[in-house]
């Protein structure tokens, strides 16, 4: 199985080389066999005796991450869709994409996607699933941005990436939580421990994380906004990723986890509500669109909502209907996208306002579109598969039971009505799509290219898909035993048996379907009368605006925030730094009860030391006020030499000596610098600034004082220095203990102290010399 998953990826690597031969042969032909073989491989599993398969490969066993693939009914359905539609899309793209295009890029991205998507639906390991999941987002990003010189493509690509990847990260958090709760990374194991998950206090969080991941990926309201913009991708991509496969990853995920959350009321509520709202909004918005692909995009959104809602219902009929509709939707929507691409290709526009009356020029395409749109609309005819799943959806929406609670009951009452409303609009845009394009008045002057029928090979893929529509329509139970029941089993966790038939008698779902057709027809006929409603709702409001605003703000606000404090002012940086250090350290010291003023064990105070200290303090404070170079040297010198005297008094002759030398050299350096740098001026700080400076410096000084006194008073241990005194002569061979420490005990310090000086010397040399060389040039 691993070969089937990774075959497209392996070929993706060689595609760039194959594409060099594209002048002789379209790259698509060379690689068409791969998805076809994968498809055939998965077809071989189809049958009533299907047993789920597992094949596992180690990847990072110590982190419990493995490439373990689990093929059950649900995975099989998706794998077939991915490889089957994939093959058709490649075939279609051979005629859609000109040899002049960058075919290598296109097919590489497409095949990366294929592997990623197969990985998503087959992985049993949650982290492998997540990895593949992110790769579907990334390949989708690259494909949407395929014509990257177009502004809209770039915009759409980033939008889809931001929304789907944010969902991906959320999904990751959800999956990690699940692994923490269950202690396993295998989905099958998690299903076994469903009760543990349902009882966990983490549950709401896990649900929120997972649902966010699924909703963003499957374009559920209000995260649907990326999908219409994703239509900037070449049409084969739209047909493949953005209708048949990738956008169903969220659906897949929810179906997969239904086995865990199936009995959880909040799962039902959230999925049903978001699904149904998406259905209604998507279909409502689709009617307003003028671009063929945009209509289809909103239509996809609404259909995804419908499937999501059915998963939420969670009854056996609903789940069977969901699985069935996944298949049906792939057939009719895939073909419609391809037809839209053909129309675009042959007429040069996708704007439905410019199109019309194409039936005479493109009879074949029109026929295919007729089946596609009518199936999508759920027109009750016994050769359209869309009708069956739609009716099952109505049926399911009427049979919500098993959940208690007032709110749930209200929702259960409202749901069927919303389902009908959504379906009415579905009917309207389906008709609008077909009649607007192929019937009506032919507007020759508005078309960039004179329309003609597409070559047969280009029509082949939609023909195959429409054949699927009709075959399933005529024999609705054809795939039940071999495929759909297995898939539904996998979701429902129990045997689902279902016979699908056209006629059930006069029952509510039939009335609902008839209502849809009647009201839908009325609305189609009177469309120009009520169209103005879109000016009121949504009017100018859209989630796109929120997104655009958000993204713009992301940079603008970041800029504002960052440059309020990163304004290049050293003083501001220092103030912020010191204030935070003082505040946090002070608080920590206080709450850890670290302040210790119980003075013990101090040396006696003597007058001359006090005097020196006072002089030094005065000199230090004077540095703030001096405005004269010499005075500045003087006061700094007083502090430095004062320190040397203190060293002498405190039994540190070596220090005193070093301090004297260093101080003298420093003063000399200062003199040199004073000579070159401008004279000290009066401090020019505003009163507020001065206030802040004073508070900060005194605050930090106080912190140091409290720290030092507390540290001094909390001597928990004897110091290690007795050892040095004892062994200095014995082992170190020297009388001067400090010297012995420096050159022997801590010789390493001294070695590197020297290298600091070495570095400083070279750095100073470089600073001075580099300029001269530059000047010489």
């Amino acid at each position: 199985m691993i070969y089937a998953v990774f075959a497209p990826l392996l070929f993706a690597i060689v595609i760039p080389f194959l594409s060099r031969m594209k002048h002789k042969i379209h790259t698509g032909w060379l690689i068409l066999p791969i998805p076809l073989f994968v498809f055939i491989y998965f077809v071989s599993f189809v049958g009533s005796d299907f047993e789920s398969q597992v094949s596992s490969y180690n990847w990072i066993p110590s982190l419990d991450i493995s490439l373990s693939f689990h093929l059950d009914g649900l995975s099989l359905l998706f794998a077939l869709l991915i490889s089957g539609i994939g093959s058709l899309v490649v075939l279609y793209s051979i005629y859609y994409l000109d040899k002049k295009e960058r075919l290598g890029h296109f097919y590489t991205y497409l095949y990366i996607f294929m592997t990623a998507m197969l990985g998503v639906v087959l992985s049993d390991n949650v982290f492998a699933l997540y990895a593949f999941w992110e790769f579907t987002s990334l390949s989708s990003f690259l494909l949407i941005g395929y014509w990257h010189f177009k502004e809209r493509s770039r915009y759409g690509a980033i939008k889809s990436l931001l929304i789907t990847v944010s969902g991906g990260f959320s999904l990751l958090a959800g999956l990690i939580s699940l692994t923490i709760i269950t202690g396993t990374t295998s989905i099958r194991e998690m299903v076994n421990q469903a009760d543990v998950i349902l009882e966990s206090s983490f549950l709401p969080l896990v649900l929120a994380f997972l649902l966010l991941g699924a909703f963003t990926k499957s374009a559920q309201f209000p995260f649907h906004i990326w999908l219409p913009d994703a239509m900037e991708a070449p049409t084969p991509v739209s047909a493949y990723l953005h209708s048949a496969t990738m956008v169903k990853a969220g659906i897949y995920l929810m179906a997969r986890f239904s086995a865990i959350f199936g009995g959880e009321p909040s799962f039902f509520m959230l999925l049903s509500l978001f699904g149904i709202v998406t259905l209604v909004c998507g279909s409502y918005m689709a009617v307003r669109q003028t671009d063929l692909k945009a209509i289809l995009a909103y239509s996809t959104i609404s259909q995804l909502g419908m499937i999501m809602a059915m998963l939420g219902f969670g009854t056996d009929i609903a789940i069977f209907a969901a699985v069935f509709h996944i298949l049906n939707h792939a057939t009719f929507k895939g073909s419609l996208f391809m037809i839209a691409g053909i129309v675009d290709h042959e007429t040069g526009t996708r704007d439905i306002r410019k199109l019309g009356g194409l039936m005479t020029f493109m009879p074949m395409s029109a026929t295919l579109a007729l089946f596609g749109t009518f199936s999508m609309a759920g027109v009750p005819l016994p050769f359209l598969n869309g009708f069956y799943s739609k009716e099952m959806f109505f049926d399911a929406s009427l049979q919500l039971s098993g959940y208690a609670g007032t709110f749930v009951e209200i929702v259960a009452i409202v749901l069927p009505y919303l389902a009908v409303i959504g379906s009415i609009f579905t009917f309207v845009y389906s008709m609008y799509l077909f009649f607007g394009t192929f019937r009506g008045k032919y507007k020759e002057e508005q078309l960039p290219v004179k329309p003609h029928e597409a070559p047969f090979m280009m029509l082949l893929s939609p023909i195959i898909l429409v054949t699927g529509v009709i075959v399933i329509g005529l024999f609705p139970s054809l795939f039940n035993n071999g495929l759909l029941t297995h898939a539904a089993d996998a979701v429902f966790g129990d045997e689902v048996t279902k016979e699908i038939s056209f006629w059930h008698g006069f029952i509510p779902p039939l009335y609902m379907s008839l209502t849809v057709v009647v009201l839908g027809t009325i609305l189609v006929l009177t469309k120009t009368k009520w169209e103005k409603v879109y000016n009121i709702l949504p009017g100018n409001f859209s989630f796109n605006q929120i997104y655009d605003w958000g993204v713009n703000q992301l940079e603008a606000a970041s800029n504002r925030i960052t440059f309020t404090y990163m304004n290049g002012s050293l003083r501001l940086y220092m103030v912020l730094l010191l204030a935070s250090v003082t505040a946090i350290t002070g608080t920590a010291l206080f709450i850890s009860d670290g302040i210790n003023f119980e003075v013990t064990d101090v040396a006696p105070v003597t007058v001359h030391e006090v005097l020196i200290a006072i002089v030094m303090a005065i000199a230090a404070i004077a540095t703030i006020f001096v405005t004269n170079r010499l005075a500045a040297i003087l006061v700094v010198g007083v502090v430095g030499y004062g320190l040397a005297i203190l060293f002498v008094l405190y039994s540190a002759p070596d220090l005193a000596l070093t301090q004297l030398i260093v101080e003298t050299v420093t003063v000399a350096l200062f003199l040199l610098c004073f000579y070159h740098l401008p004279n000290l001026t009066k401090r020019t700080e505003s009163i507020a600034q001065r206030g802040v400076n004073i508070v900060i410096s005194i605050g930090f000084g106080a912190l140091m004082l409290v720290m030092s006194i507390s540290a001094y008073n909390s001597q928990f241990f004897e110091t290690i220095s007795d050892y040095f005194t004892e062994n200095s002569y014995k082992l170190g061979g020297g009388d001067n203990i400090v010297n012995v420490i420096l050159v022997d005990f801590r010789g390493l310090d001294t070695l590197f102290e020297v290298s600091v000086l070495f570095g400083a010397g070279l750095a100073i040399y470089t600073l001075i010399r580099f300029r001269k060389n530059k000047g010489a040039k």
């Binding site: 440059f563 304004n567 003083r571 220092m574 101090v602 040396a603 006696p604 030391e609 006090v610 200290a613 303090a617 230090a620 404070i621 540095t623 500045a632 700094v636 502090v639 430095g640 320190l643 203190l646 405190y650 039994s651 540190a652 220090l655 301090q659 260093v662 040199l672 610098c673 004073f674 070159h676 740098l677 401008p678 000290l680 401090r683 020019t684 900060i696 410096s697 000084g701 140091m704 004082l705 030092s708 006194i709 001094y712 290690i720 220095s721 200095s728 001067n736 203990i737 400090v738 420490i741 420096l742 005990f745 001294t750 600091v756 000086l757 400083a760 750095a763 100073i764 600073l767 001075i768």
Partner: protein
């Protein structure tokens, strides 16, 4: 006495920081010099003051001041000296290139 020295070192710290918060290079550099004095004084004080003779072994004396802080201070003094020298030259070069010794005029802008 240690408490007094701690107070002195804290005053040095505070004045050092006040100088660091100024605009003129010179004042800032004076700040860094005071800062190192403060740090060294702290280090010395923390090793206890006046607890014996200078740490040079003399026959018959067993009572010496803690030598380790002194060794550490010595290392630190030398390093600070290196850094201060570099800082002075850097300040000088920055001044000659930028024609200003005012930190406020050396903020730069986001366009660079």
């Amino acid at each position: 006495m240690e408490i007094l020295m701690a107070i002195l070192a804290s005053i040095l710290f505070a004045t050092a920081i006040y100088n660091l918060l100024q605009k003129q290079f010179l004042r800032i550099i004076i700040g860094t010099v005071l800062l190192s004095h403060a740090a060294h004084l702290f280090l010395l004080t923390m090793g206890k003051l006046k607890r014996g003779n200078p740490p040079v072994l003399v026959e018959g004396v067993t009572n010496y001041t803690d030598p380790l802080p002194q060794a550490l201070i010595l290392t630190s003094i030398v390093i600070s000296f290196g850094v201060t020298s570099f800082l002075l030259v850097l300040a000088y070069r920055t001044y000659t290139l930028n024609k200003s010794d005012n930190m406020d005029e050396l903020r730069g802008s986001s366009d660079e």
